[in-house]
Symmetry: D2
Subunit: 141 residues, 4 copies
């Protein structure tokens, strides 16, 4: 990740951007949470009909039926929108999103211990291939 683009600096640019355009009255936490959810769905929309394999190739332009990178540009755009609304949401509520994530990873490391491996253990087949489900998920709280 490029050092030039500090997260806190980008958050401040977003806050200033909205203030100069007098958009604060619209930026209630409720509205920003809705907007974040809408942008996340727009990112999902790019993938909704793709196979898992096509979805993995989306940035190379091979996943968009010869679109020549159209999907890649859309992905970058939606990813930026999701982060933009997340940072604005956190700014309005004075939430330190990096501290929140760090604390969550700490909790998840306790909740989901790494299965111990005996040295000779042959790695199990990947769950998706063996028909199993992902055993648990950090966000399934």
């Amino acid at each position: 990740m490029t050092d030039r683009h500090d997260l806190a600096e980008l958050q401040q640019r977003l806050v200033d951007f909205a203030a100069r355009r007098r958009w604060e009255p619209f930026h209630t936490p409720k509205n920003l949470a809705a907007a974040l959810s809408v942008e996340a769905a727009e990112l999902l929309e790019i993938f909704q009909w793709l196979t898992p394999e096509q979805s993995a190739a989306v940035m190379s332009g091979e996943g968009d039926g010869g679109g020549g990178g159209a999907s890649a540009a859309r992905v970058l755009d939606e990813v930026a929108d999701v982060l933009a609304y997340l940072l604005q949401f956190c700014a309005v509520l004075d939430i330190d999103v990096l501290a929140a994530l760090s604390a969550k990873i700490d909790r998840n490391e306790l909740r989901f211990p790494v299965p111990e491996l005996v040295p000779e253990q042959v790695p199990k087949p990947a769950p998706a291939e063996s028909g199993g489900q992902k055993p648990a998920d950090p966000s399934d709280e």
Copy 2:
């Protein structure tokens, strides 16, 4: 935002976390986009029946009907989940999310020029009060 929690470092922790638990087969871009969207909806769920005013008080514990901070903890948790899946999505596709956001803000500054103010101009009433809609939005592309 605390300096201790560098975004790139947190992203690496998430990548390592998934690798140690052999979750990579599940972490296709499509699945991570779905999970991101689900977490954003869980954040929205906290606000779905709140008035704009209640939504603004959600971190103080006044917005949750005397829940004593239960909503605040949920908000922190969902915010962390949204960022976690966004960073994992970007890691899998080798996307620099901060560069993507920086480029998007640059584009939006051209697209949404700041309305010029004559010095004596009385600020217009906030759009939400005057019955108007937010004139345009950076993510409406």
Copy 3:
């Protein structure tokens, strides 16, 4: 609701529509659930910056800043898309959606008993005005 448009008949039209265009391979339950979620977010997008009052006026064309009914047409369109994907999802999994809803309402009637009113009881102020939260919700399971 007009009698001409029977739900089962519309569901059959959707199934035939997809079959004639050879879209079945795309219509896995997972993909249809993603598409349903995307369409629901597109409906939400229309309302994301509106006040509660503006949202109530959206079909009269007053909620869209003089859009002359543009929002109303969008609402009808998105509502149709949500139902279309819900019916296709249920067709693929052989789910009787009306029976599912009927059973759910039955369960909710047991779960959320109607508060008894003494005859002289003055109706309480509406919860949104009294600062309270919706006490419980049929879908909060």
Copy 4:
């Protein structure tokens, strides 16, 4: 679909259910659109880590890692919630959802003509197998 459960009748039950519990103040179109979106995401959550094949087996109890039908019950529950909020949304805005869907299918039949087949034509491989994308979609407006 069982005749006993008429859509209009279920919609009326939902309206009465909310009225008896004095929930109307919460049921603005904006809030109901948010709730609909949240429920659609909860349906998607069931499928987020499943392969396409596992997602097709979700009602048989084989898709939930031996959960013995737990996923099937969740699917029925979420499907009912999605329809419930869609019907309540339409009731509040006086929208005839079946007419909206019928009109949308009419438009889509003009927009997406069925590709003509010469009698001897060998059916093309399903798009998902041939690496192509779904050529177009009724909801992509």
